[in-house]
């Protein structure tokens, strides 16, 4: 154990450009997926929070349950959709970074939607009556509330990013872990573990964790800056 750990740190020092490229791909794929997840999930979550329609409780339950979607299953479904023999086969997207973005988007969208719904619903408890008295449409009320809770939503976005960048099941199945093309931090760590090179796997793990910490730190800096400037 001790030997592995000291070995880990010596390997850490020798990590090369290849690792930087892998980390950069992981970051790009997961950030893209989170952006897509935000574009769909935030409006969706807010609308469900403010609108009243039959079956709303069911939708809320479904959204909450979808936070626990198993990545491998999502990967498998996206794989079958993107496969040459599947409905989206002609686009040739399987085993590309775009496929990984698609799979991770499906994973994080329900998470963002469910958390947004809760945050917006809490805000609506305070402001909802006023907004409804203005006879605004659900869309307008959702928009106003999203803007009102925009700093709290950062937590939802970061949770989604954390889920995306740390998952392996989906990216492995739809990306194929192709050297220099679809190899991400998690699939690289898994590969090195399989090869029995536990020190290198741990070193890569430390890089991944540093990446996650850096993104979270950047987000919280941005948040406090924005809160001061526009809050």
């Amino acid at each position: 154990m001790y030997e592995t750990l000291t070995d880990t740190f010596s390997r850490l020092a020798s990590l090369d450009r290849e690792v930087v490229a892998i980390a950069w791909l992981s970051l790009r794929v997961s950030v893209s997926a989170v952006l897509i997840g935000c574009a769909v999930g935030i409006p969706l979550g807010a609308l469900v929070a403010v609108a009243h329609f039959p079956g709303r409780q069911g939708v809320v339950g479904l959204m909450n349950a979808s936070m626990g979607l198993p990545p491998v299953i999502v990967g498998l479904v996206i794989y079958l959709l993107l496969s040459r023999s599947g409905p989206f086969g002609p686009f040739g997207l399987l085993f590309t970074p775009a496929a990984m973005v698609a799979a991770q988007s499906v994973l994080v969208t329900p998470l963002i939607a469910a958390l947004t719904r809760q945050i917006v619903a809490d805000a609506e408890a305070h402001l909802g009556e006023q907004l409804r008295s203005l006879r605004l449409s659900a869309w307008r009320r959702a928009g106003i509330l999203i803007f009102d809770v925009r700093f709290s939503l950062l937590t939802a976005v970061l949770a989604a990013f954390g889920r995306a960048i740390s998952e392996i099941g989906a990216v492995l199945v739809v990306g194929g872990n192709i050297d220099g093309f679809t190899r991400t931090m998690t699939t690289a760590i898994s590969l090195e573990t399989q090869k029995g090179d536990l020190a290198l796997a741990l070193a890569l793990g430390l890089v991944l964790m540093a990446l996650v910490v850096a993104v979270n730190a950047a987000a919280s800096l941005l948040r406090s800056y924005a809160a001061r400037a526009y809050g």
């Binding site: 950030v31 040739g92 997207l93 085993f95 050297d179 590969l191």
Partner: protein, 280 residues
């Protein structure tokens, strides 16, 4: 206005981050083929050795998806790869018979070894793989099986059968079916101090051996033949037949065969070329 400007700004930033490279390479490199292959060829480092030589000569890039033989053939069946490079002769011939592959070419062989605890509690050491398997089963010594429909798994099942054992009847807690690739299976065997059938390439490049050592090798039945097949373009029109065939042709030509023979780990040659063209 302010919100609009900031939204536009972040959208632009996102496009900058996500845009280049994500969708790009799929179109930017038409000269790239996808090869579905096995974990043994990828994890032993053979592809890292071969592919740059092939690409330098032909300008064709190769992307390798490493899976078990059964899965790799399935990827070919669905048309998600241009070339399949695997090791389970019976399954390969079935693949061709079903019309999914054009022709099977023998490329090279390597060999399997039986690894196990150095103390060898089952007394499995020797040069006869089926006798060793029989002794392992007789004392119910821990044995780790790939259990993943890989070529190695298919070979293991063959040896049990040849040892005259009905695995369904004798298997028990001692037989650990992990359903994973060679590396994870070796990790499990190393942790459980169990016997395991492994391909020599993965064994040599595997670092976490613990107390395991090679106990059985050299039996002719342990030879493991690799075949390469172009996925039939008549079944899947998008298959890059010209580039894929170029890869197959290069592998079985003297050039590729020499490159295969040149690959060594710790001075040991891992794969032995067998293609007809390479013998000249």
């Amino acid at each position: 206005m302010d919100i609009l400007r900031r939204s536009l700004l972040s959208l632009g930033l996102a496009a900058l981050l996500a845009g280049p490279g994500l969708a790009g390479p799929a179109w930017a490199e038409p000269q790239t083929i996808t090869v579905a292959s096995t974990t043994s060829t990828e994890q032993s480092g053979l592809f890292k050795h071969l592919l740059p030589r092939f690409t330098e000569k032909t300008g064709i890039g190769v992307k390798v998806v490493a899976l078990g033989t059964g899965q790799a053939l399935d990827v070919g069946r669905r048309g998600d790869a241009d070339v399949v490079f695997v090791h389970d002769r019976a399954a390969e011939e079935k693949f061709v018979a079903e019309g999914f592959g054009t022709k099977r070419h023998a490329v090279m062989y390597n060999d399997f070894v039986v690894a196990g605890p150095k103390a060898d509690p089952a007394g499995a050491r020797g040069g006869d793989v089926t006798a060793s398997f029989a002794r392992i089963a007789a004392v119910k010594a821990p044995f780790v099986s790939r259990g993943d429909r890989s070529g190695t798994h298919a070979a293991e099942l063959r040896y049990w059968k040849e040892a005259g054992l009905d695995l369904g009847a004798v298997r028990g807690e001692w037989y650990k079916d992990v359903g994973q690739g060679m590396g994870p299976a070796l990790n499990t065997a190393s942790a459980a101090n169990a016997y395991i059938l492994a391909d020599r390439g993965t064994w040599l490049s595997f670092r976490n051996r613990g107390d395991l050592a090679i106990l059985v090798q050299g039996d002719k039945r342990l030879f493991n033949q690799y075949g390469v097949l172009l996925v039939n373009p008549e079944k899947h029109p998008q298959v890059k037949a010209k580039e894929g065939q170029a890869f197959v042709d290069w592998l079985i030509a003297p050039d590729g065969q020499r490159a295969i023979a040149d690959y060594k780990i710790e001075g040991e040659q891992l794969f032995f070329p067998t293609a007809e063209a390479g013998k000249s």
